[in-house]
Amino acid sequence: MSALVGILRLWRGGTPVVPLPDLWRLAGVPLLAILAFLFAWSRVSATVETSLGQIPGPVAVWRQAGNLWAEHQAERGRAAVFYERQAQRNARLRADNPRAAVTNLTYTGKPTYLDQIVTSLKTVFAGFLLASLAAVPLGILCGLSKTINAGMNPFIQIFRPVSPLAWLPIVTMMVSATYVSADPIFQKSFINSAITVSLCSLWPTLINTALGVSSIDRDLMNVARVLRLKWTTTLFKVIVPASLPLIFTGLRLSLGVGWMVLIAAEMLAQNPGLGKFVWDEFQNGSSDSLGRIMVAVFTIGIIGFLLDRVMLALHQLVDFGSRR
């Protein structure tokens, strides 16, 4: 970010806030590295032939990104036309007979690439929220009591390394057995992937929260004791604020894990998201598929990076530790 600011200042003829050597390191080197990567990629991809044709180079992938955007626009256009026709028809019906029964249908088109990104984000946040709601209180309990921590530890150690691919069948069967509703608010596939995401992403938050609470400054605990604070006051005004930096470190790691796990979960659960997009393209096997999957790879990477930045900013908001 600071590099960007520096470049902007240079551009406008001002003095750069960032000294030139730093600017080179912060912006020049990464830019060069990206260019070198793109160059190498396009050279290598030109030499590899598959049964589906050439491996797509940067240009082909960029074109596919454009196609996906165009498809999205076209689909939105069709939806707009549909709604307009429906409105016209309803208006006509009402004009003939003010008491005519009009129906308002929602447009059911194929989800576009952008729809799928939105679904993925919703799923990951649902799973992440679920995980945080469980992990933060549990982590606080583990941090407060050595006994509880000792009791929880084997489960943390055993379940933490389990892959989402192992959780998903279990989750799917459990959800199918228990979530029976004629008019479900959430689709089963959405719930399956969200729960799988939370099962995999709750561990970093749990471990870091427990660490934050157990490593709280002894002086602060002494203050709570000499002020004779009630335990609820101690918890919410001393313990939780003191461990917020580590809790947020955990949340940041959890969201990263969750986003990574989501794609795998969506692929298997057939939840309409980026994972399903990748899977469908893989099954489709057209000459465009490879390029489209590569677009998805970059999308996943960039969104993951942005999520991490947001969490980092939140983390810095609550970090009082160094400013005592």
Binding site: D219, V223, V226, L227, R228, F320
Partner: protein
């Protein structure tokens, strides 16, 4: 009739790697109601352990502490503690830090009264216009003033001070000391105070009696040295006054005599020199 604060032959040791490390052995101390007593000794002599036992934060291995006739088993409602490193909550403003103490100690007051009392306490230490600042926005001296305001805001009967000026530079230290002396003198009823310090001047400036702590660990207490100087005292007066000079000489002599003496088990008893 025993003293207001009566420490009777307490011992404390901490488990070190193999053997128990004696920090305090057979320590006794009497403090009368309303008295300001300083426990003066070098770093690492077990002073802080003694204070935390008095305050009820730590339990002694042997012996007992009674305050106003009741044995100390936990933190007393009418006691306040000021720590060396301020110990303010960094996520709260000065006012919120003081209010935490007021709200906990006086839950019967209304919110407005609690707020007013906290604000008054901050005004008394000269921080009336900094009440909405966080500790990170305050200087070291201001932070310790907030900590002192927090201690006085609940109108305690007993005050325990653990090297309250230890983290301050010499110039700031002086002004905060004056503030503390003023607060101790200004309250309606006398506050019984035990202060831990390693600074002779500070002890003379504030105390009614100085108890040297010698040859720790395990630490034992020397005979209390009375400081019969008129109040209010000032640093300048202490620097040149004859009486103050005598007290200083006595204290320093006691401490250095103890340092030069070979370590023996049991209590080291030091007699006050009647000629001083």
């Amino acid at each position: 009739m025993s003293a207001f604060i009566d420490v009777h032959r307490i011992s404390k040791s901490f488990a070190a790697r193999r053997e128990a490390r004696h920090v305090l052995r057979d320590v006794s101390l009497q403090v009368e109601r309303g008295e300001f007593v300083s426990i003066l000794g070098a770093m690492g002599s077990g002073k802080s352990t003694l204070l935390s036992i008095l305050a009820g934060l730590t339990a002694p291995d042997a012996g007992r502490v009674t305050i106003d006739g009741a044995q100390v088993t936990g933190i007393r409602r009418d006691a306040a503690v000021v720590f060396q490193n301020y110990s303010l909550l960094p996520w709260f403003t000065a006012l919120e830090n003081v209010r935490l103490a007021v709200d906990a100690a006086l839950p019967d007051l209304t919110k407005d009264e609690q707020r007013a009392q906290a604000q008054r306490a901050l005004e008394q230490v000269g921080l009336g216009n900094a009440i909405h600042r966080r500790p990170s926005q305050l200087s070291g001296g201001m932070r310790q003033r907030v900590a002192i305001a927090r201690a006085f805001a609940t109108k305690p009967q007993i005050l325990f001070l653990d090297e309250p000026f230890g983290a301050l530079d010499a110039l700031t230290r002086e002004t905060v000391q004056q503030d503390l002396a003023r607060l101790c003198a200004a309250v309606d009823r006398p506050v019984t105070t035990v202060m831990i310090t390693n600074n002779v001047e500070e002890a003379i400036l504030l105390s009614d009696a100085i108890v040297p702590i010698v040859a720790g660990p395990p630490a034992t207490l020397g005979t209390p040295i009375p400081v019969a100087l008129p109040r209010p005292r000032s640093i300048a007066q202490l620097a040149h006054g004859e009486e103050a000079t005598l007290v200083r000489a006595h204290v320093v002599a006691t401490l250095t005599a103890a340092l030069g003496r070979p370590r023996r088990h049991g209590t080291v008893r030091l007699k006050a020199d009647p000629t001083i």
